[in-house]
């Protein structure tokens, strides 16, 4: 920068002319990026190496923030509950991701069938749950799950069968995943449906002339061609899984089977706000963010060649 303020040579002037305008245009976005992304991330990184420690000794010594090196990372990685939370997240993800994408793809393909009646109504009906805020959806499902308010249990008891408690034991994973599936299918369906609509219809006509059934067309033409959209929705679903918080946190008051550390983000919230350990929460957040990044890159690498024909 100082070079530019010296008596400008021709080369310098050319550099300034080349960079001046683009930089000016980048400035607003750059400012926002630095203020609301780079600085907070940097601060979280900084916090993750700090910690509250007692100074002065005595039973009521003051806690003060000091440099603690890698202590928080060691604590995060050796916390069995954080690891167990990742395990629970994996079970949840194995249920939620394939079912969400499977339902979304099925609905999208069905809606894309020719000569379909009531398409607009069905599309809206499938999409509407996505418009219901997550907390509201969870409360709604929570009351459907609770044994004393559940209509399912009411019917089961009337016909002489015992009620089912879907908020405990292995059923819990399905119950939590179900809320996410219910809310997520519509959104993913729209993305896949839009992508299906982008496929030139000549392809279908040609296939039909060759004697392909609607099933063949769906399986051999439509699904391979919406591959990129499937990867995109898969990536969203995966990141969404790693960020699960709202559903289990909202259901927690309704069942003792959901601990405060049920999923990693709940552990992070507990550490930051219930236990006043912001630094540990920052370290866990950094680790989780890096983990998400690594998993996303692996997913993209694995699927890229197949769906985008290599690049």
């Amino acid at each position: 920068m100082s070079a530019a303020t010296d008596a400008p040579s021709l080369a310098h002037r050319r550099v300034r002319r080349r960079w001046g305008a683009p930089l000016l245009f980048l400035l607003p976005a750059g400012l926002l990026f630095v203020a609301f992304l780079a600085i907070p991330i940097g601060y979280a990184l900084y916090l993750s190496f700090r910690g509250m420690r007692v100074s002065g000794g005595g039973p009521f010594g003051l806690r003060q923030e000091t440099w603690v090196g890698l202590d928080n990372y060691v604590a995060a990685f050796t916390d069995p509950e954080l690891v167990a939370g990742l395990g629970r997240l994996a079970i949840y993800g194995i249920i939620a991701v394939p079912l969400t994408l499977g339902f979304a793809l099925t609905f999208a393909l069905l809606l894309d069938l020719p000569r379909l009646r009531g398409a607009r109504f069905s599309r809206t009906a499938i999409f509407i749950p996505y418009a219901v805020p997550g907390v509201v959806a969870t409360l709604l499902w929570g009351f459907l799950y609770l044994p004393s308010t559940s209509p399912g249990n009411w019917i089961l008891e009337r016909v002489g069968l015992g009620g089912v408690d879907v908020l405990h034991g292995g059923m819990l994973f399905g119950s939590v995943a179900n809320i996410a599936i219910w809310g997520g299918v519509g959104f993913n369906m729209i993305i896949l449906f839009t992508s299906l609509r982008g496929i030139p219809t000549e392809l279908y006509e040609a296939a039909r002339l060759d004697g392909a059934s609607e099933w063949d067309i769906a399986y051999r033409i439509k699904i391979p061609l919406v591959g990129p959209a499937l990867v995109l929705t898969g990536l969203f679903a995966l990141i969404g899984t790693l960020q699960v918080y709202g559903e289990p946190a909202t259901l927690r008051p309704m069942t003792s089977a959901i601990s405060q550390t049920w999923v990693p983000l709940m552990t992070i919230y507990r550490d930051a706000f219930t236990r006043d350990n912001l630094s540990l929460a920052a370290a866990s957040s950094v680790a989780l963010a890096l983990g998400t990044l690594v998993v996303s890159i692996i997913l993209l690498r694995v699927t890229q060649k197949r769906t985008f024909g290599g690049s």
Binding site: G57, D71, A257, R275
Partner: protein
Amino acid sequence: MMRRTAPVITALSAVALTLAACSSGSGSGGAEPDDGGPITLDYWAWGTAQQPMVDAWNAAHPDIQVKRTDAGGGTDSSAKLVTATRAENAPDVALVEYNTLPAMIVAGVAQDITEYSNGLESEFAPGVWSQATFDDATYGVPQDAGPQALTYNKARFDELGIDVPKTWDEFAEAAEKVHEADPDTYLTTFPPDGFGGVAAFAQQAGGQWWSVDGDAWTVDFDDDASVAVADYWQDLVDRDLVSAEPLLTPEWNAKVNDGEILSWPAGLWAAGVLYGVAEQSAGDWAMAPLPQWEEGDSAVAFEGGSALVVTTSAEHPEAAAEFARWMGTAEEAHAIQIEQGQYPASLAGQELTLESEPPLLMPKQKDYWETAAEIARTTIPEISWGPNVNVASSAYQDAMSKAVADGTPLRDALTAVEAEVVDDMKTTGFEVTQK
């Protein structure tokens, strides 16, 4: 490489300049002019009783005006206080639960107000006063107290022919009798996340989870008394004589309303809480002293209750302390408190309850306040809470819920909580002895 870094540096320095400009601009609204006008105090407190009390103070004290903010219940509010203190914008005065007060001291939130507390000690029973005094320094003015009692559904007790249990043995027998008479009905609940309740049961039995010895803390969650309490509830849970579920869920509220859960051993505030969730059953209820471990004993511990602290951010600590004292000891304040269903911490306030109507949940129990006063007189003094009750309570909730769900021993859950509490205290740098 050089070509690329130069513009980045340019952009960054531009950002830095802009940010510097922003921050210097925002600093101008600070420091209040000290022109002798009325002092304004910020006060954080939850609950229905606070605003009318603050209004009464403001009417009587034109020079010190108080603005109250509801920053959430005890747990939320104290978490926010810690953050606000670090940002140096905490309110001047705040309501803090007794069991979080030590945490507020080590976090630098609560200020030592010994110099403004002349004659305050005599206003309170020793058990209450000890909740706000540490190492001979006063950190708060007690406002309300929650000695444990047994709030029970008298109508259902009479219907099933159950006598009010005086000991925990009788309580277990009653639980058996209730469940035999009506398999859908339970005498009470064992909430797996009920840290405060079990802490108080353990204290009643003689347990002392945290204690201070010189410069060091002693932590003992699984002493004989606490283990006996855990084993007692274990037996009731194992025999399905109590309902092991969280409190105050829609499910639980419905059962209370339907007379399927017949009692709640908890702080005296239980009457107000139950009235809020089971109003239809009001009139069926009554309150009795908590069952004892040995017949003839009368020891009872606190569950809940809170004090007003003056924060380290307070600009006018003397005025803040004056307000805190008024809130905890003025007759006008007590009258409002009682009307709103709080049990006052001060002796004068407790005296005043005797002239009041019983709470809305038990309008027929004319001796409610006499019984309450008797219970308050027998609270255990010198209960100390540790500097990380938040960690203990969150660890307890998870460990106990897991033990109840998996059918593992409850006493082991206490040991697990102790390990987590000690670990946290050691990491923070306290000197700790684990028993």
